[in-house]
């Protein structure tokens, strides 16, 4: 095959894949039966037995809170999550506290994020949490972290062995008292 034809085929293939995954994302967002089917069959969910547990040690008005989302949120100038790998992308992005909404975007084809684009608080509620800090409900907010979720296969080991522990270490360093996690 001549190289030009090969490139065209590849681009056509990626576009098709991209289109299919976006269509799938829309369907999984809006058709409840499909969500349940996905929940029962996905390989990105690993059945667990034991559970780690630590109690909250401070009153909420003194707590430093961090948000972690798996909704694929990132800064416009950060590298987007890898949507070409069917096993997902186990990396994370740091979203500095106080980042204005205009500097944030979402890369994630596996759900319909048009509503979240309209109001990011529905999955990345840092602005809402900041309003609770102003009212004295919570103490303070630290940097947030974002993953893309739907991580499968070899990337699960990277998530549990590398990227999630890295984020945990950063949270410890930042003396975070509690973490709120929100899915896509």
């Amino acid at each position: 095959m001549n190289p030009m034809a090969h490139n065209v085929l590849q681009i056509a293939g990626m576009t098709m894949r991209e289109q299919l995954s976006r269509l799938g994302g829309w369907a999984f967002t809006h058709i409840p039966g499909l969500r349940l089917l996905w929940a029962r069959t996905t390989q990105s969910v690993v059945e667990q037995q034991d559970v780690s547990w630590v109690p909250l040690r401070r009153r909420l008005p003194e707590c430093r809170i961090a948000v972690i989302t798996t909704g694929g949120v990132h800064l416009v100038d950060q590298a987007p999550f890898d949507m070409a790998d069917p096993h997902g992308d186990p990396s994370y992005r740091i979203i500095p506290v106080g980042t204005p909404r205009s500097r944030l975007t979402i890369t994630h084809n596996y759900y319909d994020h048009s509503d979240a684009e309209q109001d990011l608080n529905i999955l990345f509620p840092v602005e809402l949490l900041a309003s609770l800090i102003d009212r004295g409900v919570l103490g303070s907010l630290t940097d947030a972290y974002s993953f893309m979720g739907h991580i499968e296969g070899e990337h699960l080991a990277t998530l549990t062995g590398q990227t999630a522990p890295e984020v945990a270490a950063r949270l410890k360093q930042e003396r975070v008292d509690a973490v709120l996690l929100t899915p896509a």
């Binding site: 994302g25 999984f28 967002t29 809006h30 969500r35 349940l36 929940a39 969910v45 690993v46 059945e47 667990q48 037995q49 559970v51 780690s52 547990w53 630590v54 109690p55 909250l56 040690r57 401070r58 909420l60 008005p61 972690i68 798996t70 909704g71 759900y111 319909d112 994020h113 509503d115 979240a116 109001d119 608080n121 529905i122 999955l123 509620p125 809402l128 609770l132 009212r135 409900v137 919570l138 993953f147 699960l156 998530l159 549990t160 999630a164 522990p165 984020v167 945990a168 270490a169 949270l171 410890k172 975070v176 008292d177 509690a178 973490v179 709120l180 996690l181 929100t182 899915p183 896509a184």
Partner: protein
Amino acid sequence: MGLIARTIEAAGIPTVSIMLLRDIAEKVKAPRTLLVRWPFGHPLGEPGNRAQQLTVLHAALTLLVEATVPATIVEPGYRWRRERYTEPVDWPRGDGL
């Protein structure tokens, strides 16, 4: 997301996770789960519905303060687009901690 919550809790920081599917919540066993059976991408509800979003945060913070058993799943039972919400007034403080 459950794996991330478990890793952070194992490092010594308490977590509360919002989840959208009971099957997933029961399998991944995050330390504390608030379950709302809403569409993907909407863990705090609908765009622009501040009272709804704050209601979810209130439930999550209450769970963070009150849960005493690992892998607690709380499901408030909010129906999608068929509830009226008012902004919560009394927020949990965790004074007994």
